[in-house]
Symmetry: C2
Subunit: 249 residues, 2 copies
Amino acid sequence: MRSARRPLETRKLTPRTSATSSPEPVATADASAGQRPGGREIPEATISRLPIYLRALTGLVERGTDTCSSEELAAAAGVNSAKLRKDLSYLGSYGTRGVGYDAAYLHYQIAREIGLTHDWPVVIVGIGNLGQALANYSGFRSRGFRVVGLLDAAPELAEHQVAGLPVRPFAELAGVVREQGVAIGVIATPAAAAQDVADQMVAAGLTSILNFAPTVLAVPEGVDVRKVDLSMELQILAYHEHRKAEALA
Amino acid sequence: MRSARRPLETRKLTPRTSATSSPEPVATADASAGQRPGGREIPEATISRLPIYLRALTGLVERGTDTCSSEELAAAAGVNSAKLRKDLSYLGSYGTRGVGYDAAYLHYQIAREIGLTHDWPVVIVGIGNLGQALANYSGFRSRGFRVVGLLDAAPELAEHQVAGLPVRPFAELAGVVREQGVAIGVIATPAAAAQDVADQMVAAGLTSILNFAPTVLAVPEGVDVRKVDLSMELQILAYHEHRKAEALA
DNA sequence: CTCGTTTTGTTCTTCCGTTCACAAACTCCT
DNA sequence: AGGAGTTTGTGAACGGAAGAACAAAACGAG
């Protein structure tokens, strides 16, 4: 009953078209490393939640909501409302006291902060089961990521088309990266090949890597790596399952 | 050159066959919730790293290492050695001062702690691209997880075999769970179906869920949910990419 | 047996993230 | 216009995790 509670059609929010709403009236003289013009440093924990808020907002907007309170949005995102408000406050003051947040406007602001106002081209290396699934995953495209290259070391895949794209030999990585201006690479190879692929990716100029191979990658400074470890998640669940079983014994 | 550094063939470690090495000689009278017999509460952050240590140890053992220092193991796992030692100390005193850890023995102890000394049966719901990739993922089986059921709402899949298993109608979930004693379920459906699947899973008696659908799931107390969000990871990378680009401008 | 070397296990300090609680700001009703 | 009712944004308290540093324990040499 949370969505029909408020009696309003209030569209009269003041959306502050200027994004650089510096809360400190004094000009911040510190141009120290990584300091964004319009705000303070955004904590890593907050950044990892922004995509969740973004998705929750997408859902609310699709359902016709135009204004939502921090409580509602927090419920949709599965977090505490105080945490949500603090997270959003790092981006700026995009809410209206006594009213809430304009869903569409807030969505835009978060997308802008993450850098999703334009598409990101992505290459996937390793077109096995997982690589094919990733290439076909519609969630990427709908969130601003465009798969522009599929690469695999195995030459027999070269004839196939996956998700409407040809599978190209791994050696063409650097060419694809250069031609398409790719910055983000996905590794979906077996663990044994992952470090080599990562090295080639770095050499080709990629600066962000999403690693699905169960290995720790060594990369130079300035290259971001995130890893998704499928069996790790199951192992963590198994631990808790194990504990539950012990608790009953 | 880190592996050939020590001049040893030291196999003379004292492996302490008793697992219940209570550091407090006094009988701890507090049987308060979730307290394990042989040790203190293990922090969540530590638990999420145990699988990484496990994998690093597997690699070392395969390469013939029998003793490793916290420094070596930490390097293989990509973490700080002090953090590694503290994490391991929550499990007990399994190292030998001046020597290091017996790789195989430590591997066993961590596996035991997580509960990987026996196999965990797992069901996968949603046999699309991702579900098929997961069903075929060899990393599950090699780490103690056995896929015993594939379920999908679409009846046209029922003829196919995926990874050597038949795809069964979703309605048979409860039966499979009961017959096979399954505790862990994997959701690989579209977002719209995920909450319903989760509800059915809970009703069927599953107490751990790994969710690949981009939705926040609501589950009752006592059910653990972990989520893997593919596009979220890319969005976090995009944010950092975005910042790098801004820093140059 | 004793000393020096190595490496663990743990304590202490510091930092980061979460939560609470409240003042400021906005709307609505009378 | 003023007061009641909401809801944001944030200062402050709290808790947990990370890293530095060190004492305790084991080993080897002499």
